[in-house]
Amino acid sequence: MNSVIMVVALFFSFSARATSLDYVDLPEGCWAREKFPCSLRAVRTLKNLKLKATKISIPPEAAIKMVSSSRMQLLTGYVWVREGDSFEILIEGQVARISGDVLVSKEDQKIVLQNVGGAIDFNSNRVFPSEVVPVGFENWYARPGGDGEMVRGVANLFSVEKIFKKMIPLMDGDKEQQVVALAEWRRSWAGRAEVGAQFYQEVINRRVAVVEEQKKKKADQKAQREREDQKLRQMFRAKNYIDQ
């Protein structure tokens, strides 16, 4: 009887279908060989890809460029950085260091960072060092403005439903386990409303102060430049030295 079962099982194993395309990478084969820089586009959901101590999960149609094994640039879609361990995200030439769980999305040429359970640290003089994004908050970052400072929003509370929509396709386990995990996440964000008000006030006060200072400095520089140019042009354009 056992041998009959074994034979039938063997039959079905040979009937198994070949696996379909999960992702494409450029240069081809770089991901499997761990040769960086390497760009990757997910065709199917990729869960828990290991990069040193960090894991990332990528939904279909998202694309990333791994500059090194711990530095990533998001090209399209979104990525869930899980258990990040000093994992770096390149945003418009600046570097955001991530620990823990953070969702990184590209929306309308902006990069959105949603802190679901980690820490985000910008090691840059173009973003206020103290303007971190607390757990339960999100913020967007865009191309630097004319003064070289990164254009960004003010960190605000993210929508739990929208976050769950992104997280669910990338979660492990069956439906029941996912429900439990989602409830845990929701509980971990419970206290963020209280943090919110004070945080906003601090950020806005600081930004207003710096903007005022920058405006004054620019105005002074502009006035100085105009005075010098005016002087030069007066000398130059006076008709009395343009002799034929």
Binding site: S3, F11, R143, L232, F236
Partner: protein, 226 residues
């Protein structure tokens, strides 16, 4: 006997399974659907690779936009258009290391003529460089040599016109500082010593950080004061 029957049944089962498996494999292998499936899989991979390449190119464009946005100073937001300094990209662009600079050929030709003291011909080539490659970082030098060429051939008015253009478009360039020394000399030659002194003082103020410009300006200022 029972054991023999059992073995026979097992043998028949294995045979039937094997025949079915072989039939299935042959059907799949020889089926036209298999060929199209393989084609489809190849096309899918190709499409996904192209999408990845497009994403990479878009990213490169955005990186370039970021570089330019960082390089170009913030000018004129909320201000009057006439108060904004006219600047070309050439006034702030820096040549990328290793990049092929097509204006280099004209630049070399013009400088070679300049060294041979063929100033009229070199000016024509410098003008061509400026017209064909207006955003090239070599444009500042082209204007400088034009102004210098005019000065050395005694065409002071044309030299002043070019110097004026440099002051407007490349005020921070040290070449502008150098060529303004010529402006002072032209004014001094026209018995406009006071204006010449003013020019030298402005040069010291704006371009005094450059030691060569500072030394020259100080010498010429002393001469003008005598």
């Amino acid at each position: 006997m029972a054991q023999k029957n059992f073995l026979f049944v097992t043998f028949c089962l294995v045979l039937v399974m094997g025949l079915l498996q072989t039939y299935g494999l042959m059907k799949e292998y020889l089926s036209p659907a298999k060929y199209f499936e393989a084609q489809w899989a190849r096309s899918e991979k190709k499409i996904e690779l192209e999408k990845l390449k497009i994403a990479l190119l878009e990213n490169q464009i955005q990186d370039l936009q970021t570089e330019i946005a960082t390089a170009i100073p913030d000018g004129g937001s909320g201000g009057d258009a006439s108060s904004v300094q006219i600047r070309g990209l050439a006034s702030i662009a820096k040549p990328k290391e290793g990049a092929i600079e097509l204006s280099g050929v004209l630049d070399q030709k013009a400088k070679s003529l300049f060294r041979e003291k063929k100033y009229s011909e070199s000016n024509l080539v410098f003008k061509e460089l400026v017209e064909k490659y207006p955003s090239s970082p070599r444009v500042v030098e082209a204007y400088f040599f034009q102004a210098e060429g005019y000065f050395l051939t005694g065409q002071y008015q044309q030299s002043l016109d070019v110097i004026d253009h440099m002051i407007q478009h490349f005020p921070d360039s040290e070449l502008t500082g150098f060529i303004m020394l010529r402006m002072g000399q032209i004014l001094a030659s026209r018995n406009r010593a006071d204006e010449a002194k003013e020019v030298y003082k402005v040069i010291l103020q704006v371009h005094g950080a450059n030691a060569d410009i500072r030394d020259q300006a100080e010498k010429l200022l002393k001469t003008a004061e005598l």
